[in-house]
């Protein structure tokens, strides 16, 4: 195989296009530095900052959760939420984005992950919202377990937190379906979307607050969790097919939107287990407690 090489472009379609033929040697601008051959190991390496951030969050939350397991059962639930929001969601989102483009590699996933961690406030706001929502969702279960009276503000806090998570679910369903129908054009009206999210949040806060009037606290929490779980399953039922549809189209960013739908669906699903985990912890601790088995004669 000998040179010189001629390169030319070919444009599909019935339109007349001037496609000049170039001599490769004269066309290419030479840049200093050698490019090493890539292997599967290089693919895994990715951006080292992403690995550091990922491993640091994993280690800190795991160790903190282990240390806090005895005195603060619900702290474990909070750390679990942080882990879900800070590790599980971005990893899942990165993998889903990469899976949305047939030619993307694991290296791209690590770049996306790094971009999520270092990309500024939106991701950390999301983590903060997820953790705060979990804290508020635990307000009623903690009082139930400790057999304390439940003030109205705790009911409101739980309703607000559940509404935040459910708004994320509704948003995920809406944007995933929109991305499947309108591709990249679905991203055009972000201002309108923000207003809709706020209205959606207010609506679900009102609806979830209304649940408390007709049920006892335990049933209220159970009902909210059931709604969140069903909502997140519905979101996955919409987001996953949308992701598959978008994957077969030539799009710029729509696959990231559907990936976001999948990630938020799974995060809300796992966060909705938080109060349940707390109840399980509380039950376990109570059954192990010596005072519970001692009965005065």
């Amino acid at each position: 195989m000998t040179g010189p090489f001629a390169v030319t472009s070919e444009i599909p379609g019935p339109f007349r296009v001037d496609c000049p033929s170039y001599d490769l040697a004269s066309l290419a601008t030479v840049v200093e530095g050698e490019t090493k051959e890539t292997s599967w190991f290089d693919e895994l390496e990715g951006d080292p900052r992403a690995w550091v951030a990922l491993l640091a969050i994993c280690a800190i939350t795991t160790v903190a959760g282990w240390l806090a397991r005895r005195r603060w059962p619900y702290a474990t639930a909070l750390l679990y939420t942080l882990w879900v929001a800070a590790v599980f969601a971005p990893v899942l989102l990165s993998l889903a984005v990469v899976w949305g483009k047939p030619d993307d590699t694991l290296n791209d996933a690590m770049d996306i992950l790094c971009g999520i961690y270092t990309g500024g406030w939106p991701f950390w706001v999301f983590c903060g919202v997820a953790v705060l929502s979990q804290v508020l969702l635990l307000a009623v279960p903690i009082r139930i377990v400790k057999e304390r009276p439940i003030p109205r503000r705790s009911i409101w806090a739980t309703a607000i937190a559940a509404a935040v998570l459910f708004s994320l679910v509704v948003l995920g369903v809406a944007v995933s379906a929109a991305a499947a129908v309108w591709d990249d054009d679905a991203l055009d009206e972000s201002g309108v979307l923000l207003i809709l999210v706020l209205l959606d949040w207010a609506l679900w806060t009102w609806v979830f607050r209304g649940f408390a009037r007709a049920a006892d606290p335990h049933a209220y929490v159970h009902r909210l969790m059931k709604w969140l779980l069903c909502g997140s399953i519905l979101e996955l039922l919409v987001a996953v097919p949308s992701h598959i549809i978008v994957r077969h189209k030539d799009v710029c960013c729509a696959h990231a939107v559907t990936a976001l739908g999948i990630a938020t669906g799974l995060v809300v699903m796992l966060v909705s287990f938080g109060p349940g985990i707390y109840f399980l912890y509380a039950q376990r601790i109570r059954s192990k407690s010596p005072s519970a088995s001692i009965t005065p004669e």
């Binding site: 010189p4 001629a6 472009s9 019935p14 007349r16 296009v17 001037d18 601008t29 030479v30």
Partner: protein
């Protein structure tokens, strides 16, 4: 007698009236305040003959070509004219030529780093328009890159990616 004269006059004037109606452009009137220039959007489809426009400055936002290929697929080529190239003048005398439409201009650039060569492709109009080609309403397949050597022992067609 009077009715006959009116009929004759009508027959004489009718062809002239018809001819005037055909030849005279139907201009409407619009009052524009002094020293104010208005920008008008309109669309014109070329038929090969010169189009008649009022003399003055115009702002060309874009152009498009619609075509059907042999398989019956509907292709559209939409061009957005860059702002700095969008103004053209129509003078009372002479004919304004617009460098729009075909042929489109395809340019390749390449960067060589070590043994890796990265190609970039750009499709523009002759005024530097941004071009969007669609097939049946969907973005058409990405352009191809063909690399050949002189004796033909190496001949490969690669595909670009949008983005």
């Amino acid at each position: 007698m009077r009715e006959r004269i009116e009929l004759v006059l009508a027959l004489i004037l009718l062809p002239a009236a018809v001819q005037a109606a055909v030849e005279e452009p139907q201009f409407g009137r619009i009052q524009i305040p002094k020293d104010v220039t208005i920008r008008i959007r309109c669309s014109l489809q070329g038929d090969g003959d010169p189009a008649v426009l009022l003399r003055g400055g115009y702002n060309l936002e874009g152009w498009s070509i619609a075509r059907t290929d042999e398989q019956g697929a509907a292709w559209t080529c939409d061009a957005s004219v860059p702002h700095e190239k969008s103004v053209f003048e129509v003078a009372a005398e002479g004919q304004t030529q617009l460098a729009i439409g075909e042929p489109l201009v395809s340019t390749l650039t390449a960067v060589k780093q070590g043994s890796v060569v990265t190609f970039q492709h750009c499709l523009e109009g002759r005024l530097g328009e941004t071009i969007s080609i669609k097939r049946n309403g969907e973005r058409s397949d990405a352009p191809k890159l063909r690399i050949r050597n002189a004796d033909g022992s190496y001949d490969k067609v690669l595909s670009f990616e949008y983005g």
